[in-house]
Amino acid sequence: MPALALQHVNKVFGHATNEVTVLNDVNFEAVSGEVSLVIGPSGSGKSTFLTIAGGIQTPTSGSIVVQGQELDDISGKARDALRLNRIGFILQAYNLVPYLTVRDQFTLVDRVKPKGNLNASALRHLLEQLGIAALIDQYPAELSGGQTQRVAIARALYQNPDIVLADEPTAALDSARVKVVGQLLHDLAKEHNKAIVVVTHDLRLQEFADRTYAIMDGQMTLN
């Protein structure tokens, strides 16, 4: 059973003459233990795909199934709980709460979801792996773009989610960091049996993917 599946998903914005089809009959599967890459240029519908897959946005038609649970069948609160407990989001922008230090970004997760998060040593290991252990008491404004992105990755992984949805996680990183993040996501999938979905236009991540989808003008194909 796939950890995440989209079946015949369509998303249309606007009405009548202003109608724009952003996703057109999209079928997608992400399996635990694998990294799925969705590659497409800017404006191809990548982010819309990701928000629909994570239950933040509803499709115009089609179904989304997360670990056997159809999202259409559950309430808004249950979707919140699903995102908090099962899905880790790595967003493209505004990833961190600006008035919380790196440490407090994790404390916030603990306060909202006291159980099931990484333990202290696992968190320390993760931070060291991402090269941000020394930044623990810094505020987001004191971090570079790449550091912010890595903290956001750590924050999402700290929740120990079954599915990780990442929106351009390497956009602000140099090639060396891209390798670190790519390897981290790959290891996470393999060693911890997570389903990792990455939408990106960064082809450097392809070497870490188990399957690659291409998205163009709302249409998705499995390469």
Binding site: T51, I56, K77, D80, L84, N95
Partner: protein
């Protein structure tokens, strides 16, 4: 609470300015209400100390003790019991050698009647002779001492201060208690006149041929009392309304600025309930801090103010002001709740 406190700690200047604004508003409202109540008290302190229910005055006096004169003939028609007392009021200027002149209200009272019994002495004793007077503590604050000989208006006689009494003010002037005979002398009246009015502790008291009014009406008819109270009430009321709108608008703007952060948190699955609780908690923290500092400043001001400034505090009034400002904070935080509940996480996702 966690998010609320962390944000305040990080954005010290922004939240400091908001707390500063609440402090100023609170301080202004507290000081104004204190002055208003203090001034109202100074109009009626002496009357309150008599603990009477009704006052009988001359029918043509327009319910004003200072304008009323009751003839002996009219007074004789009223059967006085131990619950009633004569009062003779006239405005005087008191002066003593080497002391400043003080404008005061002279009240002539009968030594055998209840007002004499109810007046409390803080130093010395009550007058026992016609040339003795008991004066308000403010005389002491102005340098007058027990035993000082005082002249009242341009009258020939001298009156010796034999005692001080606390909080004896009438129409914002200190009271001098003396005999009814002295009142007649100061008012240039003959023995055909008995008093200005009759005070009674009986709620059913009625004086034949005189106008008898309840104490509340009598107080409202004191010269300037109603106008002054109404003015202060309007000032405080308008100030409260304006303060409420300003605080509410500030808190609203503050919340709206945080919507992108809230959108991120919503995307991460943080329940909207936590964000709403955070917003309300933060508003309450700001308002409570503002109220506490404002109250402290008010207390400091009261301690530094000269004794002559009529400042007095009424707990229910202060409670209402405090409650109103707290409510403002909650309302200001509640207005954007719908926006928080509907914040769209998609708005912060890239294209």
């Amino acid at each position: 609470m966690f998010l609320a406190l962390r944000e305040i700690r990080h954005e010290k200047l922004r939240y400091g300015l908001i707390i500063g604004m609440i402090v100023l508003v609170t301080y202004l409202v507290f000081i104004l209400s204190g002055l208003s109540y203090g001034l109202a008290q100074q109009n009626t302190q002496a009357i309150s100390s008599w603990r009477v229910d009704r006052i009988a005055l001359n029918k043509d006096a327009n319910d004003s003790l200072s304008q009323s004169v009751i003839t002996k003939q009219a007074a004789d028609k009223v059967k006085l019991t131990s619950h009633e007392a004569y009062l003779g009021q006239t405005g005087v200027v008191a002066k003593a050698k080497g002391q400043v002149k003080l404008s005061a209200q002279f009240l002539g009272i009968d030594r055998d009647q209840l007002i004499y019994r109810r007046v409390k002495v803080t130093a010395g004793h009550k007058p026992t002779k016609a040339n003795q007077i008991l004066v308000d503590d403010s005389f002491k604050d102005n340098g007058y001492r027990l035993g000082d000989k005082v002249t009242l208006n341009a009258a020939d006689g001298q009156y010796r201060i034999v005692g001080f009494t606390h909080n004896a003010k009438l129409s914002v002037a200190p009271v001098i208690y003396g005999s009814l005979g002295t009142w007649r002398t100061l008012s240039h009246l003959t023995a055909d006149f008995q008093a200005s009015g009759i005070a009674s502790t009986r709620s059913t008291f009625k004086a034949q041929g005189l106008s008898t009014l309840p104490l509340s009406k009598f107080i409202n008819k004191l010269p300037g009392y109603s106008a002054q109270n109404t003015t202060f009430s309007f000032m405080i009321g308008f100030l409260m309304v304006i303060a409420m709108v300003v605080i509410a608008v500030f808190l609203y703007i503050l919340t709206m600025q945080k919507l992108p952060n809230y959108a991120v948190l919503r995307a991460q699955g943080i329940p909207a309930k936590i964000l709403v609780t955070t917003t309300i908690t933060q508003a309450l923290l700001l308002v409570v801090a503002g109220l506490a500092i404002g109250a402290g400043l008010t207390l400091g001001t009261v301690l530094l103010l000269p004794a002559g400034v009529p400042m007095s505090f009424n707990v229910p009034l202060l409670g209402a002001v405090t409650g109103g400002i707290l409510l403002t904070g909650v309302v200001g935080a509640l207005i954007p709740v719908k926006v928080i509940l509907n914040v769209d996480p998609v708005s912060v996702m890239g294209g």
